[in-house]
């Protein structure tokens, strides 16, 4: 059913309805709907309307500047870009991270996961879930949440604060810090900083458990809605640890098909381009990635919490492991493809992040030791990390003058491009088709997009290499042949 409702046959005869700008999401996007005179939906598209050109303008910059520059792609997940770039630069300088460096970076990263997941659930998405998708506009925001559920709002704000404080302590400041450098980190923790973070960590774990419980109860209070809303089946992609457990900082690429069968396992991150390819469509600046093995029609997939929690074999922290078991049991072991299940799995990951921070804070390696390790130089570096919203790929080429010559970035939200389009087409079909379009109905479309927690700022970076697909089509419209530019060659 892929691509149905993507392009109407005669758009000029149809009525246009736009949701512009999308709100309570990060970045700039809009949705357009085309309807015929009977109100039947003929076309639904999520457009990314801006581009910024990071891949292009970092060319010529020295490689050590890159982790600090590229995090400016996104103020919500700057740490993810900072660390993905730093991991790529580790390869450039041939460094194998010291225990201190790796643990400081992991601490920073889990602070990032915690604050971003809290922000998304409490500040952005929860008004839809707690007040209803068709509650009035004036109520669908964090202000109403603070008025009507002050305890939930307070804990949301404090959970986010704690994640931001973990980032501040490890990176120097909360937004756009400087902790990671090629081959390591630039500071360890003092004993005072560690005890400061230890003070609140158990409370943060307890609040994260409560958040999982809120998400679970919401889901179980209306299974028909939460299971069915915007549902579509697709493959799933993420990295997992070498032992198959959930790991958000490092690991191998794994993809499962819609039935949960493993398609790709132990995929080498540094050769990601053998697994993933991208398409361009004229109506969005955001690319459409797909698994090479399955092709563009069947190979698109989803990333992020819902993919990760199911893609891994287990979670190694006890409370999040139990929460994951509850989640899997609720669906009787069948793969879950419901967009609204992102919320539940996002809270499971927030709990995992809180537990991971607690474990790391008990490790004395944080307090000192070698910070940087250098080795033999390479000209190519790939860094892959699981950002809050999904798999994030940074790929750079550096010349003998230490300057960036090529860059390719595939951000989390881009992986979910087709998935988000499928979800809103599904919602349009179910809720909007043939009806009078009202504001609350349009919010249903946004609810589906919000479930993915898209980061549209991240998705607007593109100005780098853009692979192209060419199709030879016969007179009857049948595809005779298809060639992809740059087949099986590294994009940079």
């Amino acid at each position: 059913m892929s691509f149905e409702l993507e392009t109407a046959a005669h758009p000029e005869q149809l009525k246009r309805v736009a949701i512009d700008p999308l709100s309570r999401v990060e970045g700039h996007g809009k949705v357009t709907l085309l309807l015929d005179e009977d109100g039947h939906v003929q076309q639904v598209r999520l457009h990314i309307v801006e581009f910024r050109g990071f891949e292009k303008f970092i060319q010529g910059r020295p490689y050590w500047e890159v982790p600090v520059m590229v995090q400016r792609l996104c103020g919500i997940c700057p740490v993810s870009h900072h660390l993905a770039a730093a991991k790529a630069m580790d390869m450039i300088v041939g460094g194998r991270l010291t225990p201190t460096a790796e643990k400081i970076r992991r601490l920073m990263h889990h602070g990032q996961i915690l604050q971003s997941h809290a922000l998304h659930f409490f500040h952005l998405a929860s008004p839809d879930l707690l007040f209803g998708f068709d509650s009035e506009v004036a109520r669908r925001n964090v202000v109403a949440l603070a008025a009507e559920h002050p305890e939930i709002a307070r804990k949301g704000v404090l959970l986010r604060k704690y994640g931001q404080e973990v980032i501040r302590v490890t990176a120097g400041k909360r937004v756009h810090g400087t902790g990671a450098i090629p081959g390591g980190v630039n500071k360890s923790l003092t004993a005072e900083e560690r005890s400061y973070l230890q003070e609140d960590v158990y409370r943060v774990i307890a609040w994260s458990r409560e958040a999982v419980e809120i998400a679970r109860r919401l889901h179980e209070s209306n299974r028909a809605l939460y299971d069915g809303f915007g549902r579509f089946a697709s493959s799933m992609l993420s990295i997992v640890a070498p032992d198959g457990s959930l790991d958000l900082y490092d690991g191998h690429l794994r993809a499962r098909d819609a039935d949960g069968q493993i398609l790709v396992d132990r995929g080498d991150c540094s050769r990601y381009w053998e697994l993933i390819f991208e398409e361009v469509k004229p109506w969005s600046y955001m690319k459409f990635p797909f698994l090479r093995a399955l092709g563009p029609e069947a190979g698109w997939y989803k990333v992020g919490p819902l993919a990760r929690v199911q893609n891994c074999d287990r979670i190694n922290t006890p409370l999040a492991a139990a929460a994951r078991r509850d989640f899997l049991e609720a669906s009787g072991g069948r793969p879950v493809h419901s967009p609204l299940a992102y919320h539940w799995t996002r809270m499971i990951e927030m709990l995992f992040a809180a537990e991971t921070i607690k474990d790391l804070l008990h490790d004395d390696d944080l307090l000192g030791g070698e910070l940087v390790a250098l080795g033999e130089r390479s000209e190519r570096g790939v860094g892959i990390i699981e950002a809050p919203r999904g798999t994030l790929i940074h790929h750079y080429r550096v010349d003998e003058h230490d300057q960036i010559t090529r860059a390719n970035l595939i951000v989390s939200t881009t992986h979910n491009n087709q998935a988000m389009n499928e979800a809103i087409r599904q919602v349009a079909r179910t809720y909007l088709d043939g009806r009078r379009i009202t504001e609350p109905l349009l919010n249903h479309i946004e609810v589906a997009i919000r479930a993915f927690d898209p980061c549209l700022s991240c998705a607007t970076h593109a100005l780098g290499q853009m692979p192209l697909a060419v199709e030879l089509v016969d007179a009857a419209g049948t595809v005779v042949d298809r060639r992809l530019r740059g087949d099986a060659a590294p994009p940079c």
Partner: protein, 181 residues
């Protein structure tokens, strides 16, 4: 103090990264006290899609396409006080690094095949706002009343600015709150 009408505030991000909005949320628990004194109009935190009459508008990010210009003008015409927040709003910031590149050449290189196999794929749908050839700071397009520097300005700087405004003082950041990173 006598309870007065709440200050109506609109916020938006143009060619920015939302980092300034994050820094605003970094006022943490102080947000709840603030909500007694202000209310939000258009903002990424609400579902109000167009800016109505406001006391203050905060804008992060510079101007990189036609839509940014439109939104900026909408804010200027509805906000008594307009504030440029952060490095991008004030001087274009990192996105303005593309200003030394030729946009047309970039688009061609990016979206059209170097091998000449395809007939070109530069996204050109009418739904996509036209990119500008350069990224511009806000004050080149409309009058700006205050500038909050920093990448991003700290939560304390934003808090001090709002506190001064709410107290009826001319906002002044002073030493330690102005940063240029």
């Amino acid at each position: 103090m006598k309870p007065s009408r709440k200050l109506r505030v609109a916020t938006t991000s143009l060619a920015g990264c939302f980092g300034c909005h994050m820094s605003f949320l970094d006022i943490d628990e102080r947000l709840f006290a603030l909500l007694d004194r202000i209310e939000f109009d258009r903002s990424p935190l609400t579902d109000i899609k167009h800016c109505g009459a406001c006391d203050v508008g905060f804008i992060e990010g510079g101007i990189c396409n036609a839509e940014n210009v439109h939104v900026l003008r909408e804010f200027r015409s509805h906000c008594k006080i307009l504030v440029a927040v952060g490095a991008c709003a004030i001087n274009g910031g990192l996105p303005a690094q593309r200003n030394h590149l030729d946009l047309g050449a970039c688009l061609q290189e990016v979206y059209e095949t170097e091998l000449g196999l395809a007939s070109g794929g530069i996204p050109n749908d009418p739904e996509l706002p036209l990119p500008l050839d350069k990224v511009h700071p806000l004050h080149e397009v409309v009058k700006i009343d205050y500038f909050l520097p920093g990448c991003p300005p700290s939560a304390d700087a934003i808090w001090k600015f709002l506190s001064d405004l709410l107290a009826g003082r001319t906002p002044q950041l002073g030493h330690g709150l102005i940063q240029y990173d």
